[in-house]
Point group: C2
Chain length 369, copies 2
Amino acid sequence: MQFNLIKTDGSARRGEVIANHSTIQTPAFMPVGTQATVKSLTAEEVKSTGAEIILNNSYHLYLRPGLELIKKAGGLHKFQNWDKSILTDSGGYQIFSLSSLHKITEDGLKFKSHIDGSIHFMSPEIAIETQSAYGADIFMSLDQPIPYGATLKKATEATELTHRWAKRGFDVYDKSTGQALLGIVQGGFDGELRKYSAETLSVINFPGYAIGGLSVGEPKEVMWEMLPIVTKVLPQTKVRYLMGVGTPTDLVRGVMNGVDIFDCVLPTRMGRNNTAFTSLGRLNMLNSKYTEDFLPLDPNCGCTTCKNYTRAYLRHLLKSKEILGVRALSYHNIFYYQNLMKNIRQSIESNTFKRFAKDYLSFGDENGL
Amino acid sequence: MQFNLIKTDGSARRGEVIANHSTIQTPAFMPVGTQATVKSLTAEEVKSTGAEIILNNSYHLYLRPGLELIKKAGGLHKFQNWDKSILTDSGGYQIFSLSSLHKITEDGLKFKSHIDGSIHFMSPEIAIETQSAYGADIFMSLDQPIPYGATLKKATEATELTHRWAKRGFDVYDKSTGQALLGIVQGGFDGELRKYSAETLSVINFPGYAIGGLSVGEPKEVMWEMLPIVTKVLPQTKVRYLMGVGTPTDLVRGVMNGVDIFDCVLPTRMGRNNTAFTSLGRLNMLNSKYTEDFLPLDPNCGCTTCKNYTRAYLRHLLKSKEILGVRALSYHNIFYYQNLMKNIRQSIESNTFKRFAKDYLSFGDENGL
């Protein structure tokens, strides 16, 4: 994997990630395919929104269908019929959030499957092995997430452990395959600890860096306070990925703070929740005001949902619990996100990002984006 | 609407229905779009299976989103983005099977919505008005279904009422629009009454005829006993539609008995039930034998599901309750049905239908088709 920083506009960065399966124009958004499918959509549909990379969740796939099966299938790309790039996470975050039993030792994490209760073990080395066997283009280090509200002592211990695990993963990963391992900055919500984490990991010289442990329940201002502390320290020449973020306005603010890559389940989750992100703001399509509204979902959008269906029809489908309603909204929302990233990239190219961000945020903050 | 009988091969008929929105090659299968969507699929996908006509259910659409809304949307075609033909049923069958209260009088049917308990009234004339306002290409007369096991007296009364309602609908429907009203043969499971019903309706000279009240729980032999009694009486020059039937082998037997058009929810319902119709028979894709099976769902099928996904991936999606699994199977099943109809049509054209049917049934009966 290679990252080229093409241009900056203030702290915003226009670049490209050359990964094994595709070149990703940044700033970029990765749709999330938790269980080897971006929920309700085909790979062709996801591709047609402009996505050049998706994220798959190691934890889910490790438990079902299992690593051995995916290896036999020829890797994650073949298994799910996706020929662009894939980033996998380490599984650490889901082990903490979904599995009922997790015991942290210096070695790694012992955990219980949320599906069948079986006991498993994950170490920094196993995390690399697993992601490598999946055939992912970009791997993530195993880290220890820090809940919002943790004491500084706990946060420091977890951050130090994350650093040691990062080094162990870095040492064992095969640098000759073109696959890239990203280190994950932790540090909780203490500025000094965040800075220390970014500095420590920078020394390891990863191909790129992720910023973890944000958007975990803290007030948004706290996230925007932490983020620039980290991005100022991380090397300019390396890609930065802000994990699990966020709303459309979060993406704009992330770029404003020097972030290159994002991922979030929001566009598909909101689609399943009858909600659309549009040029008119966030719309709840169950609202009775759409009953006889024969306009497109978003009159300023060129996606197939907006070309083919009226709001009245979409509302009918969603009220009737028809799968097509979920599909149509999920598709539109991912298209909306990809289109936003395209607009962000263009505004950086033309040195107008600051203006673009100001306009977008002043409307978006008022209208649920 | 016009029906051209192009060729016969034994009792099997090769024809075409020229309807307002498309020409339908017969024998034909109509996918069912109960709530103005063929479950889980887009109109484009349904079209790409080769379908030239779909069925929409009047009862469901009358209650939700309601006739007025569909009228304002510009009719059912525009509402659901489907530009080929549409056949609507009268709603009678669903009134009997879904609504909790139904009172039959000479005038019509009083019934209670299964959605909100509201009270409604349907008459033969209202059934025509409704379907006409939907903008459907082919309408169905309001009829009184007869449960399997009804006494001859009850069956006779219901059949006579169906005849009177058929005449009332025929008298009020506008013959100048190109839209066609089909009469529905009833008669329960008494051969004489079935024959009488077909004869009585034939006199009205409908543009086409449906055979109703079969596949309602009776043993299959009883259906195959009743069917030829009816098709021998119905005029050769008119299209015949066997309502709500059936499995792939049912379709072959239906054609063998002179039927031109079929509809059934089976391909999509089975898709949602993890089941596929294939050249290898009926497959339950949750079966553990597919866990590491990297063959296509049906190696002899050219649909996108079979081109893009392995059985192992489909099983993973279905086990994980992912919508894409349901989509993929529903699409394949409808494609399978359309492909079967194509093969049936070709075999009639080449005078080999008898042979085709024999081979298909001998395999299909053994393999759950």
